[in-house]
């Protein structure tokens, strides 16, 4: 195996939403085993990046490339990307009334396993045990599995449910879009510990956040700052502290200089 190619490689990405350019030449590489934090002001394009990565058809790629393990992701539909191990924990997860979390997880896992060469779905007993284990990791009540996806979930429950899906599907690259917002102090710790438990040499994480707080739990090796559709600064964990102390005007000034 060559270590030359990054797991996820984004090059000079340009994305427009409803004809309006949002990302204007973004490059980023995330490897398995790495944790990257992406910070930036409201409206700078963080969720746009997340959606474009995942293949949301509303987001039009106007230039650049995305590769996952050397495969051209832009050729793939959202479901193919999901099966290949890309995962997005949504900033605003959608409710699907009438479809239970367990049912959904079973379908999704079966699809993902198939992609990984496992033709047969996990036997029901093992599946239930797996979900139970992951729910315990995230301190979720067992009854959760029977509820309808995000239907009537509190803000914090939605975020937890996103991480539960990640835990079950075991992606290679996970983009967590403001998973920390809306979580109370205890939940933030539990969810962070959950993410930490899942991370390791087989998982790369791109953590989108506004706050230093989550970075006290989940330690990124790299921090990037996105302003107006471009990464204007990258650095180590200390960058997050500087941002917290000085605000985005500080990087805007650096950029202007």
């Amino acid at each position: 195996m060559t270590s030359a190619k990054p797991t996820l490689e984004i090059r000079d990405l340009h994305v427009a939403v409803e004809g309006k350019p949002i990302l204007k030449g973004l490059s980023l590489a995330v490897n398995k085993g790495e944790i990257h934090a992406l910070m930036g002001p409201n409206g700078s394009g963080k969720s746009t990046l997340a959606n474009a990565l995942m293949g949301n058809p509303k987001y039009e790629i106007t230039g650049g490339s995305i590769h996952l393990n050397g495969v051209d992701v832009l050729e793939l539909s959202a479901d193919e990307r999901g099966r290949k191990g890309l995962f997005l924990a949504f900033q605003y997860p959608t409710a699907i009334p009438g479809v239970s979390v367990a049912n959904f997880l079973r379908m999704a896992l079966t699809a993902r396993r198939k992609e990984m060469g496992m033709e047969k779905p996990l036997p029901p007993k093992e599946f239930r045990a797996l979900v139970k284990e992951k729910m315990a990791l995230l301190r979720m009540d067992d009854s959760f599995a029977g509820r309808y996806i995000n239907d009537g979930f509190s803000g914090g429950e939605k975020k937890r449910a996103e991480i539960l899906q990640m835990a079950v599907l075991q992606p290679e690259i996970a983009v967590l879009d403001e998973t920390d917002s809306g979580l109370d102090i205890d939940a933030l710790r539990i969810v962070s510990e959950g993410v930490n438990a899942l991370s390791g040499p087989n998982l790369g994480v791109l953590l989108i956040t506004h706050y230093q707080r989550i970075l006290n739990y989940i330690k990124p090796q790299f921090v990037h700052v996105l302003v107006d559709g471009r990464i204007v600064k990258s650095g180590g964990p200390e960058l997050a502290h500087e941002l917290e102390a000085q605000g985005y005007d500080w990087v805007r000034e650096i950029q202007a200089a």
Partner: protein, 470 residues
């Protein structure tokens, strides 16, 4: 050899699973078209008593006199003289699957009927074109006095009980199609559940149209005596032909004091069937009548199962699903008539339309003067899968009493891009994701079904969705 021309635009999966036909040589087939002599011939074939022959002939007169309904769907297309009104597929009805002719048995095997009977049913009837080819009830229920027969056999074996109730809930004069059914009826189920007997597993009938240009006119009569309980399930399918078939049933139900009846339909006709069915129940003191009515397939369905709440404490539950695909029109709904004080009704309708199909809810809540303290809630939700499809809601109310509580809620939604993207991002292919959303939409109804039928419903929804997206 005589392969019928198949319409190409419809559900691929249906063709394979249900849309096949058998080349059988019927024992008897009436000539095309309808007149007095055809009706007399049917009656004679069946060796019926004179009163039934007269009933049929009077009904025929009413059919001929009555105008076609000018609302609902386009029934003007039906060519009544091009239809075969009676086809007898076998000489004898049997209680043993092994005695059913091989071709016909193969059909029911493919549809999974004998297997279901083994697993979770109290009794099964299987009708093939005009006649029932198989009928059986579990011995312990028969010992308790439960009668489950095809309707013709019930007329023979229980003439008094039969005549006491037959045609009392839906007289031939009710509407043109009830009159037609009354004139040419054949097959259907007759159920009598004696006082206090609870039939815990469902009784099921399966209706299969096989011949081309066939008319199927089964007639079902269910009497649930005081404090008794029954769940009856019917399923229906037909081959895909280029020309139309007609299915026009009449279902009459009497639910006596404190009794409970649930009638579940999972209709899955091919797209060349006109399905015009009259279903009505009378519920007496503290009785409960539940219609669970799932309408998939057919060219046009007009069906509004109704409950007449005759005495205080009676309750009606109507759950309706209508799914219209390309070239289909589902005009479904329900009716609750509150004829006594303190009666309650609840209607939930879920309609889905896709590929230019048209599905809707047409319902009536009626409260008679003096029926104080009645409660009724109606909820109808429509889901549109694309821009070319159509949903209609016609909620009629005739409330003649002030001291009542009536609630009505209606929503129309489109399948959300957000929802599709969310499911797909987890690796679920688009068609499956769409099917999941639709299954979720009707879940408030499918969760009421026994597990086996809920699974079947979701499988059928999946089939409907196949090849539709993208």
């Amino acid at each position: 050899m005589n392969e019928p021309q198949q319409t190409l635009d419809i559900r691929e999966g249906y063709k394979e699973k249900f849309g096949f036909h058998d080349d059988i040589a019927p024992v008897f087939k009436s000539r095309r078209g309808l007149d007095k002599s055809v009706v007399e011939e049917i009656s004679a074939m069946k060796g019926e008593p004179a009163w039934m022959r007269d009933f049929r002939l009077k009904a025929l007169e009413q059919f001929e006199k009555k105008p076609l309904p000018n609302w609902g769907g386009n029934v003007g297309e039906i060519d009544f003289q091009n239809i075969f009104y009676y086809l007898k597929p076998t000489e004898e009805q049997t209680k043993n699957w092994d005695e059913v002719p091989a071709d016909i048995k193969r059909t029911f095997d493919r549809l999974g009927i004998p297997e279901a009977e083994q697993k979770f049913l109290s009794g099964v009837g299987a009708q093939y074109d005009s006649e029932t080819v198989y009928h059986k009830i579990k011995q312990d229920l028969a010992d308790k006095g439960v009668i489950f027969l095809d309707t013709g056999s019930a007329l023979e074996q229980h003439p008094d009980l039969f005549r006491q109730y037959f045609g009392t809930i839906i007289p031939p004069s009710d509407n043109k199609f009830a009159a037609l059914n009354s004139a040419v009826w054949s097959g259907g189920s007759f159920i009598y559940v004696p006082k206090g007997v609870k039939v815990d597993m469902p009784l099921q009938a399966y209706f299969r149209i096989n011949a081309q240009n066939m008319g199927q006119f089964e007639r079902t009569l269910i009497i649930v005596d005081e404090g008794a309980w029954v769940h009856y399930v019917e399923g229906c399918t037909a081959p895909i032909y280029a020309s139309d078939s007609l299915h026009s049933a009449v279902v009459e139900i009497i639910v006596k004091k404190g009794a409970r009846c649930r009638y579940t339909t999972i209709q899955n006709w091919s797209n060349n069937v006109f399905n015009l069915v009259t279903k009505r129940a009378a519920a007496y003191q503290d009785a409960t009548m539940e219609w669970v009515d799932a309408n998939l397939g057919s060219k046009l369905t007009m069906k509004y199962p109704s409950v007449y709440l005759m005495e205080p404490g009676a309750h009606a539950e109507i759950l309706s699903i209508a799914f219209a695909g390309k070239g289909q029109h589902q005009d479904a709904g329900g009716k609750a008539v509150h004829g006594a004080p303190n009666t309650t009704s609840s209607v939930v309708s879920k309609s889905i339309s896709k590929d230019g199909g048209r599905a809707g809810y047409r319902g009536l809540i009626k409260v008679a003067k003096g029926a104080k303290g009645c409660k009724s809630t109606v909820r109808c939700d429509a889901l549109l899968l694309d821009e070319h499809s159509r949903s209609d809601t016609y909620p009629y109310m005739e409330i003649e009493e002030d001291q009542v509580s009536i609630g009505h809620e209606a929503t129309v939604s489109k399948i959300g891009d957000e929802q599709l993207f969310y499911l797909m991002s987890r690796g679920i292919p688009e068609a499956e994701a769409a099917a999941m959303i639709v299954s979720g939409f009707i879940e408030p109804i499918t969760k009421e079904l026994p597990m086996e039928y809920a699974v079947e419903m979701n499988r059928l929804i999946q089939l409907q969705m196949e090849g539709s997206v993208g």
